[in-house]
Symmetry: C2
Subunit: 476 residues, 2 copies
């Protein structure tokens, strides 16, 4: 009997499929204020694992965590001209506090460059204080007119790094290091998404930056999703806030800065990159639960065996959850584990206890990513599973790369690029054939240059490096 579909088919209505998956896998739901989001425990567990993976890499890159205030005096936002222009339309403004109208309204941070520079200007005195490498895990608010859970929400969670350096070169290299060793490494090796690292065009840069590095992921419907950005801020904020240091030579110099961020939209990206018609598929290195050990039916010997197998797997280093909710029909629970994308299910029923007792009994091993289902001896499971999970991890990354290769086309004109994007794909086109006027034409057809890459796939060192290619797509 073919099972009835749990979700709207991905191929028919991708946005609806996404919405239903986020809802039915209990990842998130809408909050009461327009555009806000409640992140449910399973969705938050994904975010927590992302935080852990990124935080370790950020600390390896030498940055320290700190915390800056949510509320920023409105006047701070206007000090850097491009910055205020970029963020003004999205600000949430606090006008009353403690029962009174405030003398100066405060904005809820849309990002923390301004308030952090107010501190940096005090903390940085001498070259000995540099580099100053700070990261913050926080919530930010950017009013969102067309919200979509995880991808665009009026409040989101993120980390934002902010650094100050003595020279342009050091700042440029640090922005590139974060882009490579933190973001690309994490997204490829943990999220199993074959992202394209590249450079934004001047038009698509962060408000107030000299240069923005990005990572673009392909979604299941051939669109693009920006996964994280790392900015060279130059000296713009330093000049606006007076952040200067005394050099070894005794001169007072403005610092060179970077900022870089990644957000809860990564959870949405994970869904859009790896999900299928049955739900989410989680890369094992990220999965909060790598293996669900499921009691098919509920007498005590089965439950005891389930607990025993779970303990064996935990001892082998596998993140395990026991499913002993035998009041709920097995079929419904199986569908739920598929929706939630848990890589491996180990089903145990009464008959498994009698089979192969000299090998601890049997179980049914159901692999979400390979789509396989086979009987297995319990005594071999702990030795087997870690290897299978690494195989699943590699499969997802390979599929992500194959998807991108299949849906990327080399084109020569802007019209062709826009056609490819409209059909659900990425177009590769020489950047020299686009230019800023070409970007206007693309925008008119709902496409953008997602990033610039060198012909060999590396990140171009400048906007006009010879041979630079533009990747064009529609974006979430």
């Amino acid at each position: 009997m073919a099972k009835s579909p749990v979700l709207a088919p991905r191929s028919e209505d991708f946005p609806r499929w996404y919405q239903e998956l986020v809802n039915k896998a209990e990842l998130a739901e809408n909050g009461p204020v327009r555009g806000t989001m409640v992140i449910r425990p399973y969705g938050y567990a994904l975010w927590e694992r992302m935080q852990q993976g990124l935080d370790a890499r950020i600390k390896d890159a030498g940055a320290q965590n700190a915390y800056f205030p949510l509320l920023i005096p409105q006047s701070y936002m206007t000090r850097e001209a491009e910055h205020v222009e970029g963020f003004s339309p999205e600000l949430a403004v606090v006008t009353h506090g403690g029962g009174k109208e405030l003398e100066e309204p405060a904005v809820v941070r849309p990002t923390s460059e301004t308030v952090i520079n107010a501190s940096f200007a005090r903390w940085v005195q001498s070259y000995r204080d540099l580099p100053l490498l700070i990261n913050q895990w926080a919530n930010v608010v950017r009013w969102e007119m067309r919200p979509r859970l995880f991808l665009r929400t009026s409040e989101f969670l993120w980390q934002e790094g902010h650094t100050a350096h003595a020279t342009y070169e050091e700042a440029r290299d640090y922005a590139a290091r974060i882009h490579r060793d933190v973001y690309t490494d994490f997204m490829v090796n943990v999220l199993a998404i074959d992202v394209v690292p590249g450079r934004k065009t001047p038009r698509e840069r962060f408000a107030g930056a000299l240069n923005t590095l990005t990572l673009e992921a392909m979604t299941g419907d051939g669109k693009a999703l920006q996964m994280g950005t790392s900015h060279e801020l130059g000296q713009n904020f330093a000049r606006a806030f007076g952040t200067r240091y005394l050099s070894r030579e005794g001169n007072r110099e403005f610092v060179w800065q970077t900022s870089w961020g990644s957000t809860t939209r990564m959870v949405g990206a994970l869904v859009m990159a790896h999900g299928d018609d049955d739900g989410l598929r989680l890369p094992p290195r990220l999965a909060p639960v790598q293996a669900a050990v499921v009691a098919v039916k509920g007498d005590e010997p089965v439950l005891a065996k389930v607990r025993e197998v779970a303990d064996l797997l935990r001892a082998a280093g596998v993140r395990v959850q026991v499913d002993d909710r035998v009041d709920t029909p097995f079929g419904r629970r199986a569908v739920d584990w598929e929706l939630k994308g848990v890589p491996v299910r180990v089903d145990i029923g009464p008959r498994d206890l009698e089979a192969a007792p000299e090998h601890g009994g049997t179980a049914t091993l159901v692999r979400r990513i390979q789509g396989s289902k086979e009987p297995v001896r319990v005594d071999v499971l702990p030795g087997l599973l870690p290897g299978l999970l690494e195989e699943d991890q590699a499969t997802l990354l390979r599929q992500s790369g194959e998807l991108r290769a299949r849906r990327t086309s080399q084109v020569r004109t802007i019209g062709e690029a826009a056609d490819v994007a409209a059909a659900g794909g990425w177009a590769r086109i020489p950047w020299a054939a686009v230019g800023s006027e070409g970007e206007d034409e693309l925008a008119a057809r709902s496409a953008t240059v997602r990033c610039l890459v060198a012909e060999d796939g590396s990140v171009p060192e400048s906007d006009d490096a010879p041979g630079t290619m533009a990747l064009v797509a529609r974006a979430y």
Copy 2:
């Protein structure tokens, strides 16, 4: 030569000493919006370690993390009568978003009972969905007229737990479990503060609660500091938000709820409980850096030895930081490590390389908590240090208990209690001798009943249990 004091002496001006310590140890500083706080990297590292310790205990108690929106519709706040009364004077109100005036203003959450209940009302359908055990790590805003870094700030960081249960008894027991297994356990065994667990009087309860459990710490000047609270909310929020479940018997019943929180004020408490005239003293189980390995002077063989010793100590499981800032005079760095309260310093200079080469050389072991300084052979250090750190941990806890015993007096009248509090101490007085009128008298003399305890030190099961004692003090 006696060293000149780095801080205002604690005995002369405790609040000034606190302010100077927080500043000079680089824990935090004021933010630009009144009452807000910048938590600097060293202060944030303390908070991160607190988060880790509490989060593990919260998960052991079965709760899962989730995230709810920062912005709450103003109308939500008014649904529970006592709640709105408690929080109205402290609210920050967002009136504009995305460039427009909002149809309904939103408040920045002062706590999340209301917005969480809006979700709980959807998530809880049947007895199978209970208990629902949720925790959130977040920032909250309560407008503060008399701010003090960490202790009272307009924005602070915290965890807030929110749970729903089928029966009164289950909710009551869970609130008590969090109070005991999460808060008391963490504060005694990690923070090394000999807190008093007790029950708040009706007057001091959380706005909308049936019962509030608290933990009170004694500060170095004999005042009290509330360290965390766990509330029985009864069915007040469930009625206000319609949070009901279908019982096994087929009836629609309101759930019974708890909420519980601990905040960044714990960092301030740590300073006030353990600090001395030279700075902070950190319990080793919490300390982000347990041992600083310091190059006294700077030729390469010394720096090589410092790195070698640091690696040996790391391999022994000690959290180590190398201090090779030889451009800065040793004396200044030594003062800085004392200010920061790092439990152990291992100083290595040129002469140490020549001494006892068959034992890997020597070092000077400086212990912050014991106040000792002695030469030590490098080869015994890795075996020695973990035990010394545990000894330091026990010393701080013992001193905290001794302080409290020394400055607590048994009294019989409200006047005596207020005198004890005014002189910098805690008064123990029979609760029957106080009552709510007595609380008015105490308030007029700036003192409060911090909590109610049973004569044997346990937490009373009701407000009027026979033999209940009140602890009276001034509070931060």
